[in-house]
Symmetry: C2
Subunit: 159 residues, 2 copies
DNA sequence: TGCGATTAAATCGTGCACGATTTATTTAAC
DNA sequence: GTTAAATAAATCGTGCACGATTTAATCGCA
């Protein structure tokens, strides 16, 4: 057998954090080949996915959906702008906000990317039920970590 | 309620990849506070965990356990060396290899880090059975992604 | 014994993440 | 209407990840 992906080392094999950490890298690797053809990185693909679903969003809106802030998003969006997939323009009414919109090329890329999700589900080889269950499990972990992180930083609770 | 951590956006909520991606960030955030006291980042903590379990490893061995290569590990190990937690020295017999060993300070840090796993399981609030099941689920996903990635890159299979 | 192939780290360049700070704009209170 | 507080992006510095390449040591084999 080639891939001893589980039980890599006894010191780590019981750590959920390591399983998530390493699986995130695996997803990244898996997407790298797929998305390379489209000229996208994985985080860029997530941004494009949001815009394909609903165009014309502010940086803040994208950040809410991705759990990222402008310090990460601004450079990433500038790269997508440099690739001519989207435009960034200050909102007419509220010039604090920058509105992000797909260009025709950005919209057109949706068709080329349409096959991507199927490649992933093929690779995962899980039933829709299994998939949903896995997503629920991981999201539950995420929620608990976020709650614990904020309470640890602010023991008084919501203020 | 404060944390709408699931269902952040309809375009992403069905993506397992996003759940993993976002949860990895949550773990990182959770560990940031905990490990900040120890002067460690999260990947550094993983390296230290390996060495606490078994000292004196080569860069390649650490890389196998973490699924990382020297391009990532060398700078990280240099920073740990700069923190005086470990030493890096060429192997006497095979000078291609660099052996990584804990310093007394590195070994001593194990005691201070002993409380970390309990903080995590507290936050997760899962039974040992649930935890194991979650780890198995995530590792299964990891294995399938890795297999799919290598076969995609090398359709002929093992050569 | 010599020399090409292999192996182990290191180096280089790019792109995230993220804490902290800065800049610019809007709002809200007076 | 002025100005202090709040808000949205951008900027800055540090530390991963990782493909690609380079450097150096060892191995294999005629």
């Amino acid at each position: 057998m080639k891939h001893e992906v589980t039980a890599a080392d006894t010191a780590l094999e019981n750590l959920l954090c390591f399983a998530i950490y390493a699986t995130e890298h695996s997803f990244n690797q898996f997407y790298r080949t797929l998305l390379g053809d489209l000229g996208l990185t994985y985080p860029q693909y997530l941004v494009m996915t949001l815009l394909w679903d609903r165009d014309d969003r502010t940086v803040l809106e994208l950040g809410k959906a991705l759990d990222l802030k402008s310090n990460t998003l601004t450079p990433l969006l500038k790269r997508l702008e440099a690739s001519a997939l989207l435009s960034r323009r200050r909102d007419r009414i509220d010039e604090r906000q920058v509105r992000v919109r797909l260009t025709p090329a950005g919209k057109a890329l949706k068709r080329k990317a349409a096959q991507v999700p199927a490649c992933v589900t093929d690779a995962l080889d899980m039933s829709p039920k299994e998939l949903k269950s896995a997503i629920d499990t991981v999201n539950k972990i995420r929620k608990r970590l976020k709650d614990a992180t904020t309470t640890a930083e602010n023991p008084a609770g919501s203020v």
